[in-house]
């Protein structure tokens, strides 16, 4: 395999979490921590995937132009279709590898947003990826990163698959943990931004409770059902489980998620900093 100066996305995980989407959906506030959004004219959403965040952002802020980039062609097509169906015309999706050199001029955006990209790239690729994000950001603009640790749950199968993901990310160099207990990406974020050259970095914590009976339960249990199915080849390749074991756990997890005692919270951190 050719060694890229940036990051190989292949061999990684699907987007692990969408902890922020229930809040965005409920409040129409995709940038709740930004006190003044009036100065933001253009946003780049990195690895825009299904396009949900980018479309919600374009809808919430009609004065902005939102660009989503992703190298997954069916995803980009589906995001475009979603935007059309919802009549949102200030969002555009482009097929582009978000973790290579970006085919975009310097200083193109006021805000570059990357949510839950931890499983996509090796830990050592972050600094190069961030300097590329910074290149396409205007002076005075900002980079905004959102990452979560594994959801904390009292239900064993759900928690155990999370643990396998943590272990597999560690074994494949996609973890900031020195031994794989947790992802350890969230405490790393602020320093990553500072080392990339961002100033005035700030961080804010959020939590989504998606236990049974909570508003976020339906969306996030669907989301985890999909993600924890898609992640299985990654777990098998890393050798942290067997087909039989992970299938059995996955079935058990489905049961847990639909039981009355399902309890789970996801903490996530949003960190942002200015390009000087």
């Amino acid at each position: 395999m050719a060694t890229s100066p940036f990051a190989e996305r292949g061999g990684g995980t699907p987007r692990l979490f969408n902890f922020d989407l229930p809040f965005v959906k409920k409040t129409d506030q995709p940038l709740p921590e930004q006190t003044d959004v009036s100065t933001i004219q253009s946003i780049l959403d990195i690895a825009s995937g299904s396009g949900e965040w980018a479309i919600a952002t374009a809808q919430a802020y009609p004065h902005m132009q939102v660009v989503g980039i992703d190298n997954d062609v069916p995803m980009v097509e589906s995001a475009r279709a979603q935007a059309r169906a919802r009549g949102v015309d200030n969002v555009h999706f482009t097929i582009m590898d978000p973790f290579q050199k970006l085919e975009m001029p310097d200083s193109s955006f006021e805000l570059v947003n990357a949510r839950f990209i931890n499983g996509f790239i090796p830990a050592e690729a972050w600094s190069k990826v961030l300097s590329e994000f910074l290149r396409v950001t205007r002076a005075g603009g900002c980079i905004r990163l959102t990452e979560g640790e594994l959801p904390i749950s009292s239900n064993p199968a759900f928690a155990q698959i999370g643990g396998m993901i943590s272990q597999a990310l560690f074994m494949t160099g996609r973890s900031f943990s020195p031994e794989g207990r947790l992802l350890s990406i969230t405490p790393a974020l602020q320093r990553l931004l500072q080392d990339a050259g961002c100033q005035d970095t700030r961080q804010v914590v959020s939590v989504t409770n998606f236990s049974a009976g909570m508003e976020a339960h339906a969306d996030l249990s669907d989301d985890f059902s999909r993600t924890y199915r898609l992640v299985q080849p990654f777990l098998l390749n890393a050798g942290v489980t067997t087909q039989e074991e992970v299938e059995q756990l996955y079935q058990q997890m489905q049961g847990e998620m639909h039981a009355d005692d399902f309890s789970a919270v996801g903490f996530y951190l949003t960190v942002w900093g200015k390009k000087p």
């Binding site: 749950s153 020195p178 350890s184 969230t186 405490p187 914590v205 959020s206 309890s263 919270v265």
Partner: protein, 287 residues
């Protein structure tokens, strides 16, 4: 310090209740109060003026209760704790600060509480996951509910243990989680997190509270952050005090523990050290 006895199910200071631990807990209180943005950051000014009787359970050396009494002269703040050393310490602090609206008495939160029904407008419990076993929570919440007035608030704060990039810290956390599981202090389904935070809302709901809300906070004790130095002192002291517990329940060999502790001191002082503690506060009303 006494040897840890896993058969003992009463409220237990896994770190002992010496004056050293009192100072350690006061330091922890100050750190958490800062990281949470105040003593009761989620309560409106309006509701604070209506809170006249406040109870802090498992108050330790009284850091939170004393600060609250100082900040709100109209409140009568009571703290209870199982340790008479802690209570003496807290009462001495109250006297020294001239606070006559804070009082502390010995009380065991794993037994029925020595207060009449509907005594308090606010009952607060912080980090009790560190001192009582999982099985003690439901009966405790029944008691907290009983002594809260109608319209009053029950409030609970719990933390997951830190997430860091230090090998020694992460390994010690795994050992500690194993020890906690043996001692019945563990909520986790997987031994990676303490696992208290998903339970908080559930405890409130199951006892009958309504209008339950949650608020997250975090403490960043990475190198270069304001709370790094106090976090370093806090943790090195905590692991020191924890040794008899970890070794006593057989979760770590003495030699390994010693090496990890030394390695932790080195790693936490490196400029590259990163660490965060996530905390959740949940509160609900008694209808």
């Amino acid at each position: 310090m006494e040897k840890y006895d896993p058969a003992r199910t009463k409220n237990w200071y896994i770190l002992g209740d010496s004056t050293t631990e009192g100072v350690h807990l006061i330091e922890q209180d100050v750190n958490f109060n800062t990281s949470m943005g105040g003593l009761l950051p989620e309560q409106s000014q309006e509701s604070l003026t209506h809170m006249s009787h406040v109870l802090d359970v498992a108050c330790g050396p009284g850091g939170w209760a004393l600060e609250l009494a100082q900040a709100h002269a109209h409140m009568q703040v009571t703290g209870i704790d199982i340790s008479s050393n802690m209570i003496e310490y807290a009462n001495a602090q109250a006297r020294a600060s001239g606070l006559d609206n804070a009082r502390f008495k010995v009380g065991n939160i794993t037994e029925p509480l020595d207060f009449p029904n509907e005594s308090f407008d606010l009952v607060n419990a912080r980090h009790i996951e560190e001192v009582i076993p999982v099985t003690a929570f439901p009966p405790l919440f029944q008691e907290l509910y009983r002594i809260t007035r109608r319209g009053g608030v029950i409030r609970i704060t719990g933390s997951e243990w830190g997430v860091t990039n230090s090998f020694a810290y992460e390994t010690l956390m795994r050992r500690l989680l194993r020890a906690s599981r043996i001692a019945g202090l563990d909520f986790s389904a997987d031994g990676r997190n303490l696992g208290i935070t998903p339970w908080l809302r559930r405890f409130l709901r199951e006892v009958g509270c309504v209008n339950i809300q949650e608020r997250p906070s975090f403490l960043d004790f990475s190198a270069g952050m304001a709370q790094h130095d106090s976090g370093y002192r806090d943790l090195t002291l905590a692991f020191e005090l924890m040794q008899p517990f970890l070794v006593g329940v057989g979760a770590a060999a003495p030699q390994e523990f010693e090496e990890l502790k030394q390695r932790l001191s080195v790693e936490m002082l490196e400029n590259s050290f990163r660490g965060i503690v996530y905390t959740l506060t949940a509160w609900g009303q008694k209808p």
